[in-house]
């Protein structure tokens, strides 16, 4: 085991897979020589050569299409989109192509590419470097959507994504790259070095796509979260002294309804959360499915903790971000109901 932050553990996942499998290649804007603006692909070009870790032109549609073509030939491309906010020029290639090649060819061709992209706010990124656009992708049949919340999961899930026979959109909450984050702006940056999930095996391991984890056990209310909000929800429960059960979803498509339903049936109360704007977000899907599965166990209406239906503001970032207070308010609301 080694101490790693999320950047290091993702880099380690790529390193392990490129070492094991000569078909794995990595590319993206600034992702070659320089190793990516967040350094996730650092040193890979030096270690594996120009044709295995290379810079791509600034054209997200072409980056995704290149990955599709390479995957169709049998390579295992891992493409980086520099910020999730930049992924939209590549959306047609993801929606109409990447996700459907297996289906529309009846399995004659498959394109198991991985599209990695940093997402989420909390880094003073303004509206074009803070988005959490995961819901767009959970609405596309044929892709899997993953978002880890810590270094250990990030490495295991990225390895699983590269080994998966189907394409994966892999969201990396960039607020968590360098340290855990409990939703309080300002102050010193916490370190993954003191966090149990910052202990990461150096070699190969993988975590199953589609499996959630109960990261805090509790009996009074279930909070379903993914990405940065997993840590915020846990901190909020600690601070409020509420016996909340927190589920880290890890995979959004397909999400682990069994783990969620088991918990909600136990607690009878549920909060679903996302950093993205509220309307038509992934939390809405969760709420709908949870009421179908658990309606008669619910003691209170399901609450949503989300960003606002606005673009991500720059100056008022912390008024947008769904921090611990909003979780505490939501917990009080479901517990009072």
């Amino acid at each position: 085991m080694a101490k790693m932050n999320m950047i290091q553990s993702l880099n380690s996942a790529l390193d392990v897979m490129m070492e094991r499998d000569p078909d794995v290649v990595s590319f993206g804007e600034d992702a070659g020589y320089f190793g990516g603006v967040f350094r996730v692909t650092a040193n890979l070009q030096k270690k594996y050569g120009l044709d295995r870790s290379f810079d791509a032109p600034i054209n997200e549609a072409a980056i995704v299409a290149m990955a599709i073509g390479m995957a169709a030939k049998g390579l295992k491309p891992v493409a980086e989109i520099q910020f999730a906010d930049y992924i939209f020029p590549g959306l047609d290639q993801i929606v109409s192509e990447l996700s459907r090649i297996r289906y529309r060819t009846a399995g004659q061709f498959t394109v198991p590419a991985v599209i990695r992209t940093p997402c989420g706010g909390g880094i003073r990124g303004g509206q074009t470097h803070s988005m959490s656009p995961e819901a767009f992708f959970t609405h596309i049949p044929g892709v899997q959507v993953v978002m880890p919340s810590n270094p250990y999961d990030a490495k295991g899930l990225l390895i699983a994504a590269i080994e998966s026979p189907d394409p994966v959109i892999f969201f990396e909450p960039k607020r968590l790259y360098n340290g855990p984050f409990e939703g309080h702006s300002g102050g010193a940056l916490a370190s993954w070095g003191n966090h149990p999930k910052g202990e990461v095996p150096e070699g190969h391991y993988s975590l199953p796509i589609g499996k959630a984890e109960v990261v805090r056990e509790g009996k009074d209310v279930t909070i379903v979260a993914y990405g940065t909000l997993v840590l915020v929800a846990q901190a909020a429960a600690e601070r409020a002294g509420i016996d909340a059960e927190v589920i880290d979803l890890k995979t959004l498509a397909p999400y682990d309804i069994e783990t969620i339903a088991r918990s909600v049936k136990k607690t009878g109360r549920c909060i679903v959360s996302q950093e993205a704007p509220r309307t038509s977000g992934f939390a809405a899907e969760l709420a709908a499915q949870i009421q179908e599965e658990c309606f008669y166990a619910l003691e209170a209406p399901i609450q949503r903790v989300t960003g606002w239906d606005t673009p991500y503001p720059h100056a008022h970032e912390w008024s947008y971000f769904p921090g611990p207070e909003r979780f505490i308010n939501a917990m009080n609301a479901v517990l009072e109901a």
Partner: protein, 409 residues
């Protein structure tokens, strides 16, 4: 209220319905005049070829000039047969669509040389990423006609399980990639595929085709950037058939002199060829394939042709272009031109031509009867209903398993 003069420039074709077809503005470089450079020529030195027109068959149906691929008569007859079969197939499928046998159809009439000569000049192992009007490649690569028809009528033997609109073929065994209805998406994919061929150290190359209208898409630009940057072994074909549904080529071209000329901006070798000249298509494809295989990079090829029929069965060209425009097309018909060339060589005659036409028509009719024995879209049998939940992922997750139960299958 109509304006006397538009406030900004909107290009318009030379003739509209009611006008006399007019192609007098088109400059045609005489066949045989274009120089054939070595395959390692720097892309920028192909300027004359991008602005001119490479042709081999002249007005007397003789093969002339440096681009003559000097093919055996046997190969020419094979090409003629594939083009004639493509046309017979298209004509029959159109009739069947009109009889309600399939939901939709798209003919390739007038453009058969581009698909057939293109496929014949490539190796059968090369991966093709076509658009929806290159069905001729399937014949040239020997796909079973009954299988093609079963796809078009979405029956129980459709190799795509009824998931795709007719003519959106896939044939992995024949290295024929999936056709998308979203335009130009396959262009940059072909570049990625070609890069992977190089990565694997294989001799295989890739080739893709889009229409001239689709060159306006960002994916056209993306493909050319990738192809140029990574020197990918790929052929990027633009089929300029003058019409994108009802939109004439000038709406995508703007002030660009040719579509091939766009390739020069990326430093790519760029050729403009007579797309109705089987020998020119063959020669240009062969040249570009050799260039790619030898590691000299990609080629942009504009095939200058004319869409002789409607865009699709959902289209009626009489609403936007003059009657008789196809007959007025100055570069003639690809089948008639290769036929006359073969006759001139003493390698073909009218009698054999008529007999072959009859044979191919009968083959198509017989094949359709067999295809129909595997079901039709209206009366079935189709692929099993539960197959709609298959191949979304390698394995069905709980969502698809439950939804399948909801549908009761």
């Amino acid at each position: 209220m109509a304006q006397d003069a538009p406030r900004f420039h909107v290009p318009a074709p030379h003739a509209r319905p009611g006008d006399t077809p007019d192609f007098s503005h088109i400059e045609i470089q005489p066949a045989g005049e274009a120089k054939r450079p070595d395959v390692d020529v720097p892309g920028m030195e192909t300027r004359d070829l991008a602005l001119g027109l490479i042709g081999v068959l002249d007005h007397n149906h003789q093969a002339v000039g440096e681009w003559d691929p000097k093919l055996d008569a046997e190969v020419l007859r094979e090409g003629l047969k594939h083009m004639m079969l493509t046309r017979a197939y298209d004509d029959r499928m159109l009739k069947l669509q009109r009889q309600g046998k399939m939901s939709f159809y798209m003919k390739s009439t007038g453009e058969e040389a581009i698909a057939v000569a293109g496929a014949m000049a490539l190796d059968k192992g090369d991966m093709v990423f076509p658009s929806y009007r290159q069905q001729g490649m399937l014949f040239a690569r020997g796909r079973d006609i009954v299988d093609m028809m079963c796809h078009c009528i979405s029956n129980s033997r459709d190799n795509l399980k009824g998931r795709q609109l007719p003519v959106h073929y896939t044939w992995a065994e024949g290295n024929f990639f999936s056709i998308s209805g979203n335009l130009a998406t396959q262009f940059p994919q072909a570049v990625g595929y070609a890069m992977a061929c190089r990565y694997r150290g294989e001799d295989q190359i890739a080739a893709s085709w889009i229409g001239e209208g689709s060159t306006a898409e960002g994916d056209f630009h993306g493909a050319l950037v990738l192809a140029s940057t990574y020197k990918a072994p790929v052929l990027l074909n633009v089929v300029n058939n003058q019409w994108a549904i009802s939109t004439f080529q000038g709406i995508a071209a703007g002030d660009a002199p040719t579509f091939a000329a766009k390739g020069l901006g990326y430093g790519l070798a760029s050729l403009r060829i007579d797309g109705n000249d089987f020998l020119a298509v063959y020669a240009a494809t062969q040249w570009a394939a050799e260039r790619a295989r030898k590691g000299h990079g990609a080629t942009v090829i504009e095939s200058f042709t004319y869409r002789a029929d409607a865009h699709s069965t959902s289209d009626d060209p009489s609403g936007y272009r003059p009657k008789g425009e196809g007959e007025a097309w100055p570069l003639g018909d690809p089948i008639a031109r290769l036929k006359n060339h073969l006759i001139g060589l003493g390698e073909w005659d009218e009698e054999r031509h008529v007999a072959l036409e009859k044979e191919l028509n009968e083959l198509v009719i017989k094949s359709y009867k067999e295809a129909e024995s595997h079901g039709t879209l209206h009366d079935g049998p189709l692929s099993p209903v539960e197959s709609i939940f298959e191949d979304v992922y390698a394995e069905q997750d709980w969502r698809l398993r439950r939804q399948r139960q909801d549908l009761g299958v």
